[in-house]
Each structure stands twice: as C-alpha cells, then as structure tokens.
C-alpha cells in the first residue's frame, strides 16, 4: 500500500492516533500529527511512498505537535518530538511540514551510523551515481532538483548514505528542499515540477519543497555505485565551468562533509578512499541551471 491509497479521513485518523508508518529509503518513520500543514504536506509529497503495517518495525517514532506551554494560545507553535524528547526549539506553526522534513533528516543523521553519512545531494543515471557534496548555499539542492526533473533518479538531496559492505549509495529519496531564489529558478526550469507553497521567515529564509519524482521513490531500494564526485559552487553571473579536482582534495571534501566521519575512524577512511578511487572528481561553478544540467548530460553520455 502507498500513501495515496489511504482515504484522506483514514490518513488524518492514523496521523492523529497511532501514527502513519511511511517508508523512506531504508527507514520506516512512524509519524503522528494533528497539524493540517503536516497532513497537506504528506498528501502532496509522500503520495507514492510505501505505508508499512502497524505490526511491522518502525525505526523512528516522531510527532509534530504544539508545545506544552501557555504560549500556544498566543502565537501557535509546533515542536518536533522524537520518542517523547524534543531535540529542537519550537517553530511557528505554519512551518510544521518544513520542521517534519528537518526532523526526518535529523533522525537519520543522528542515528544511522550503520552508514557513512555525507552531507551531499545524489542523483543517478544508468546505475552510476553523481554525488554533490556541499554546504548549504553551494547550490547542490538546486542542481539536484534540476537534474531530477531531467530524468536523473533522485537518491537524496541532503544525506548520501554510503553502505560499508559494498561501497554503494543507499537511496533516501525525499522532497528536495529549495531555498529563496532557488524556488523561482526551479519553477521556471520545470513547469511540471510539484512544489509546496513556500514558507517564509524560516531560519533558512523562504523554503519550499519539490516533490521527489515518482520513479525515484519506486526504485528507492536500488543502490547505486558512485561514479562522479562534483563539488558545486553557485555564484551569480559566473560562466559554467567544470574543472578536474584531485582525488586527495575530493577525499578531504567528502570527509569534511561527512556527518559521522569521526564515529567510523579507520573504516570510514577506507570507505571514502574506495569511493574516491572509483570516481571522476570535479569542481563545478555555475549560475545558469540549464547550462549546468547540460554539462552533466554530456558527462553521462561520454562515460
């Protein structure tokens, strides 16, 4: 069963009571909320995701709910609850869906140390993965959204999970988080992209999520072998430029952007070394998304 198969009332009921168990890549999240924003967000973005049985195993139990404070009557707020604990500060209630998304990222990046977790976007074509490690503002999510809407399979826009046994990317396709100017860029780049209404004044400015392509969600259990590592840099007005990057630098960049490199020690070093060895590595500057996407189309065609 997928989320779309649940009648809206049944979905609302399960969200309010025991929790809806939605599978995203390798993890099952039991989500509870009475927030209309969460309900709408799930209906829009998660329609194609598997719903797991109550009798099965959920990895994370989360809720998006009003905090227990008298303030809720003044200016409505929401908190993200993880097994009863509250890891973040409350946010205004209209940011409920964005908070759910950040919370789902937090669950994985804080707990899934069975993987090496790199702060990188990832897309795949013909079984080969393109990894875009980068800090917020580097343009990795925009580039990832652009490639995903031109037929690349979305692996993740934020968390690249590397499997130790086989050195492959374990997909975690979820809505792509777009910020500020990127929202308009994607809207005009792909008229068919499904975006949630932007939420303004978040910690990251205005935020909207782009729905993950259906094909990516369906194929979430297919791992992909890393083939290209590209360190992206968006800067207004620059020429599109793809330059080779030394493997040593690519390695350092990946290690810098790994959430749990320190947890894995030697094993993490060896895994990254293997990944970098098997990849072509580049630095990439861009300002025009259509040119940028064309560069990677050409790269994939050549390989």
């Amino acid at each position: 069963m997928i989320v779309r198969d649940c009648a809206p009332e049944a979905l609302r009921q399960r969200l309010a009571d025991g929790g809806v168990r939605i599978r995203t890549g390798p993890v099952v999240n039991s989500i509870r909320s009475r927030s209309q924003k969460v309900m709408d967000g799930l209906a829009l973005h998660y329609a194609e995701y598997p719903v797991e049985d109550e009798a099965g195993f959920a990895d994370f139990h989360i809720a998006v709910a009003p905090p227990r404070s008298p303030r809720r009557w003044l200016r409505p707020q929401i908190v993200f609850q993880f097994d009863g604990a509250v890891p973040f500060f409350p946010l205004p209630a209209d940011q409920a869906f964005a908070m759910l998304e950040w919370g789902l990222n937090w669950c994985v990046s804080f707990h899934c140390h069975q993987y090496l977790i790199v702060h990188a976007a990832g897309v795949e074509k013909a079984g080969r993965a393109l990894l875009l490690p980068g800090a917020p503002g580097s343009g990795k999510s925009t580039l990832c959204a652009g490639l995903a809407s031109r037929g690349w399979r979305l692996l993740s826009d934020e968390l690249t999970l590397l499997d130790f046994a086989v050195g492959r990317v374990v997909p975690l396709p979820r809505p792509v988080s777009l910020k500020n100017a990127s929202i308009e860029v994607i809207r005009s780049f792909d008229r068919d992209a499904t975006l949630s209404p932007p939420v303004h004044d978040t910690a990251k400015g205005s935020v909207a999520h782009m729905r993950a392509p259906r094909e990516s969600v369906r194929r979430a259990s297919e791992q992909a072998r890393p083939r290209w590592i590209v360190v992206p840099k968006y800067a207004a007005g620059v020429q599109t430029r793809l330059e080779p990057l030394s493997k040593a630098r690519a390695f350092m960049h990946l290690a810098d952007h790994a959430f749990n490199y320190d947890v894995h020690g030697r094993r993490g070093f060896e895994l990254l070394a293997d990944v970098v060895t098997g990849c072509e590595c580049f630095e990439f500057e861009y300002s025009a998304l259509d040119e940028a996407v064309a560069v990677f189309e050409a790269l994939a065609a050549k390989a």
Binding site: P26, F57, A58, S69, G84, C112, H113, Q114
Partner: protein, 361 residues
C-alpha cells in the same frame, strides 16, 4: 515490579539471553526504551558478548550496529581526552582522580562496556582547585556557564566548578572537589576519598577511587542527582560495579562500614534496594538487612519505591505521561532538597523558573 510487567529493555538488561526470543514489535519497543535511557549501545555489547547477533532481526540489528560504533568512537575519544587532561595537569603534580565513566573505562571495568559519555569528571582536593582551573584554562578549557548566577551557584554551593568546555574539541569537563554539594545534608569527606584512591596500571599520575568508594559514589550519584533522565543508565553502572566488586573478592562488610564512615549509608540503602529489585543484582541477604537500618521510615519507603520504580522503568514513560512526569518532577525537587537547605532551594528554583520563562518568552 515483577519480571512479567517489566518492559523488554529491563528484561534484556537482567538476562541478555532473552534477547533472541523477542519478536519484532518487542524489539521496536526495546530500541525506543534503550535510546531514551542511553543504553542502546549497552544492549549491542550484550548481544555481541553472547554472540546473539545472528538471531536478531535485521531492522533492530542495524540500530545495534549503529549504537556499537558510536560507543566505540566515544570510548576512544574519552581515552584521548583523559590523556589531554593528564598532560594539562601534569606540571601541578597533584593527585587527579577520574570519576564515573572515565574511571570505569581506564580501569577496564565491565561497567564501561558500551557506555555512552557526555563529559569527563575528575576529583581534586579543594585546596588545589584554583590551580587546577588555571592550568586547564591555559590549555584551552573555559567555563561556558557565563551568567553571574550560574557562576555563583557553582562556586558557592556546588561540589564542582562550573562545567568547562574545551574550545577546539568541544568536550566537557567537570572538575569536582567533593562528590556531593557543599550545601548537602550528607557530608562525605573528600580527603578520605582522595587518601584511599588507587593508581591505575600503566598510568603514572592518574588515579581512580578505591573499589568500595567507586560503588558508593555511583550510589550517591544515582540517588541524589537531579539528572533523572539518566537514572536507569546510572543503575546499570551500579549493577556492573557491584557484580564486578563481588567477583573480585570485594567485601560487602567493608562496603557497608565505609558507607557509614562516609555518611553515605542512606544512598547505599537505596542503591542496593533498587539494583536488586530492578536489575536482579546479586547482593547477599545479610547485607541488605544490614543497610536496611539506614533506610527511611516505612511510610516514606513506600513513596520512594513508587517514585523510583516509576522513573527507572522506561516502559512507564511510553504509556503514562502524567504519572511519569510527576514522578520525575518529584525526584528532581527531592534531589535538590538533598543538596540544599530549604531556603536556598526555594531561591534556586525560583531563579531557574524565571529564567526558563525568559528563555521561552
């Protein structure tokens, strides 16, 4: 609490051999309980020790693996941190006693198995406290509790300096001069603890508490501490220490005598009572009877049982929010009550309460 009513985590802590019998739903509950109690990595180590891994379903096994690597990384980080502390304090030539998790780790005790750490704790003589603080500051540690109230709270009333954080490694160090606050009713003598402390094989300067004192400190920490969230983890520490203490020919008679000498008979009473009841720790019946004399009057004993049993079983938190919150709240106030005279406590709780409102507002 009977074995049947206990949640899967408690059953597994008592007898890890039950782990392969859990169904998937029970595993889900166990992982939630264990995460909340900071004991997931401990369960992972138990699974490894008994070679049960192949019998654990794949989904929970992934979480155990994740918890295991995290605990191993933390243990390595704490060992490095201990070396840095040693290096910073070496020129002073004063005895530095490692406490709690760091001590278990460096002594190779089973209580360190799969244990998570939030900070490193050390004990030094009050007379050298200022020198120790300066030496640490010269080496990159600094206080991060910066409001004047916090500074005064720690320096005047507490048994430790305001927590120090290393500016590059971001690690937290608690420097104690006693194991209970200056204001507490019970007054264990730090000089006696320091005098009885032991050296560590292979570590020329660092020391740990004597085995009896280590048990007593763990008991004190558990039953006088306001950090109720880690209570079950603290009880598991105590269980491990007691089992190892008994196995290494530790004398329980000596333990009870030392408890009276250090004014810690009441915490030892609670410690043994709940370790036995909740984790099934083997303690000779004669010892239990001996410390019972140090217990509270019977009307209070019933109340304390209800509060502790409720906070120590993580299964309760999942089902009833109201009662568990009340129990935790009561123990928080009680912990402070033991640590401060009433007027000071009222002042402290009001100041903290006001500040919380400001933070939210």
């Amino acid at each position: 609490m009977t074995a049947e009513r206990a949640g899967p985590l408690l059953r597994a802590l008592r007898r890890p051999a039950v782990l392969p019998k859990l169904d998937l739903k029970q595993w889900e509950t166990l992982i939630r309980e264990a995460r909340r109690s900071n004991l997931l990595s401990r369960v992972a180590f138990d699974v490894d020790a008994l070679r049960l891994s192949a019998q654990v379903p794949q989904q929970p096994r992934a979480h155990l693996e994740a918890a295991r690597v995290q605990a191993l990384a933390q243990a390595a980080a704490v060992r490095r941190e201990i070396a840095f502390i040693d290096q910073a304090l070496r020129p002073l030539g004063v005895p530095v006693v490692l406490l709690k998790g760091a001590a278990y780790l460096i002594s190779g005790l089973s209580a360190a198995r799969g244990r998570l750490f939030s900070d490193v704790d050390i004990l030094v003589a009050r007379a050298v406290l200022a020198d120790v603080e300066s030496a640490l500051m010269r080496n990159g540690w600094a206080s991060f509790k910066t409001t004047p109230y916090d500074q005064r709270y720690y320096r005047k009333w507490m048994h430790e300096l305001p927590p120090l954080r290393h500016h590059t490694r971001q690690t937290v160090l608690d420097v104690h001069h006693a194991i209970l606050p200056t204001t507490a009713r019970l007054k264990p003598d730090s000089a006696k603890l320091l005098a009885a402390s032991r050296s560590i094989p292979g570590e020329p300067r660092l020391r740990v508490l004597a085995p009896v004192d280590m048990v007593l400190h763990s008991a004190t920490h558990l039953f006088c501490n306001e950090d109720v969230g880690n209570s079950l983890r603290d009880l598991v520490d105590l269980d491990g220490l007691l089992r190892e203490f008994a196995a290494r020919d530790g004398s329980f008679a000596q333990l009870t005598a030392r408890a009276h000498e250090l004014d810690l008979a009441r915490p030892l009473y609670y410690a043994l009572r709940y370790a036995v009841r909740i984790l099934g720790t083997p303690v000779p019946a004669a010892v239990l009877r001996n410390v019972e004399r140090a217990g509270p009057p019977s009307w209070l004993s019933g109340l304390m049982d209800a509060l502790f049993m409720h906070t120590l079983d993580p299964a309760h938190e999942q089902e009833s929010h109201g009662l568990a919150t009340l129990a935790r709240g009561s123990l928080y106030v009680r912990a402070h009550w033991l640590r401060m005279p009433p007027l000071l406590l009222a002042r402290h709780l009001i100041t903290k309460g006001l500040r919380r409102e400001q933070a939210v507002g």
